[in-house]
């Protein structure tokens, strides 16, 4: 079973803090993040981009799945 950063139901800045922590721990590769609101989606995307990661987003019903790669 793969790992992911589960930010569903969390409000900012928690999703950003968790995602940043995961990105720092990972170094490079792919990190999966799942969020459940547009604000978290925007903020995590912006934070990841600022850290030099590429983000692709998949919308699944009420949730957004982010694949963050470096």
């Amino acid at each position: 079973m793969s790992e992911l950063v589960d930010c569903r139901g969390l409000s900012c800045p928690e999703p950003v803090m968790l995602a940043r922590q995961a990105l720092q721990e990972t170094g490079n590769g792919t990190v999966q993040v799942v969020v459940s609101n547009a604000v978290a989606l925007d903020n995590v995307t912006r934070a990841a981009n600022q850290m030099g990661w590429q983000v692709s987003v998949e919308e699944e019903g009420e949730e957004f799945k982010l694949s963050i790669k470096k």
Binding site: M1, V5, D6, G9, L10, N37, D42
Partner: protein, 360 residues
Amino acid sequence: MRDRLSIIFAGAVVGLLAVILVLQGNPANMGFCVACFIRDIAGGLGLHRAGVVQFLRPEIIGLVLGAFVTALYVREFKSTGGSSPLMRFLLGMLMMTGALIFLGCPLRMILRLAGGDWNALVALPGYVLGVWFGTLFLKKGFTLGRSQVQTAVNGYAGPFIAAVLLILLVTAPAFIFFSEEGPGSMAAPLFLTLGAGLLVGILAQRTRLCTMGAIRDLILFKDYHLFLGFAAIFVVALVGNLFTGQFIPGFEDQPVAHVSSLWNFLGMTVVGFAAVLAGGCPMRQLILTGEGQSDALLTVFGMGTGAAFMHNFGLAGSPAGVSPAGQWIAIISLALLFIIGISNVNLHRKAKTKDYSKAS
């Protein structure tokens, strides 16, 4: 780049509208004050009987409805809640406590500063200190837990209440209180106040403008995105005040303000601290309410209740200063915030967990 321009634009519009609203009748340096205006609404509903601060402020109604309509339009409206409702209610009360010690929410602090009220310059480092306290807990794993998707009625409650307040404002039944003197009697015409609220509600929903997030993100991530909005409010309001003769620098005789520096400082420390733990400044709570978050609505209810307590028990600051009881309540509020902070830290927080999302 487009994001940055949007948030600067939103901040600039807030600053400009604030200047216009004061020119058209709002109390000085109070074009917008979310805490003051929620307090006025609590008074209008008779929850407190401070006769000079009772009015169903259309700006508040507009902020919620503007955010609501926008969230519906961009399909971001979602009924959610259930993330520590009691804590959020308490944090709303505490946020209002601090704001009524200082006499203004963070937004009014910026506007007071832009009007030359140097007492706000004393409050600003207090606010930053409060936000910093909050970030210490965030770093340690502070969380109010996850919210859940709720039935639609939870999300529509906030906008519905705003609409009812608007009807009560327009029809002015006898059981609604309207100040005949003092700040509560001073207001720009309805189309301006409501229009300004709606416009800012729309812009703040889109840009996530937040006077707490501005400082928090700088401290936590060195991210100045939201701070651009904060700065734009100040710069445009300052220039507007300079042009219209509303910039009157000094400590003494500032409108709806007092000169007790320690309490101005500590009042805003309470606001900043509470806002971080609650996840948004008073204005942001109204925007989230419009987006269907019942947790934010509870924070707003807490603010209204806090205002009632502060005025019913003579705890709120006034141009004469802060009463001894008010000073105690500021200290107690700060202590309560540390307790709330410590007791909601999740020491076992991990960023990554096993992927259960497909199973659910």
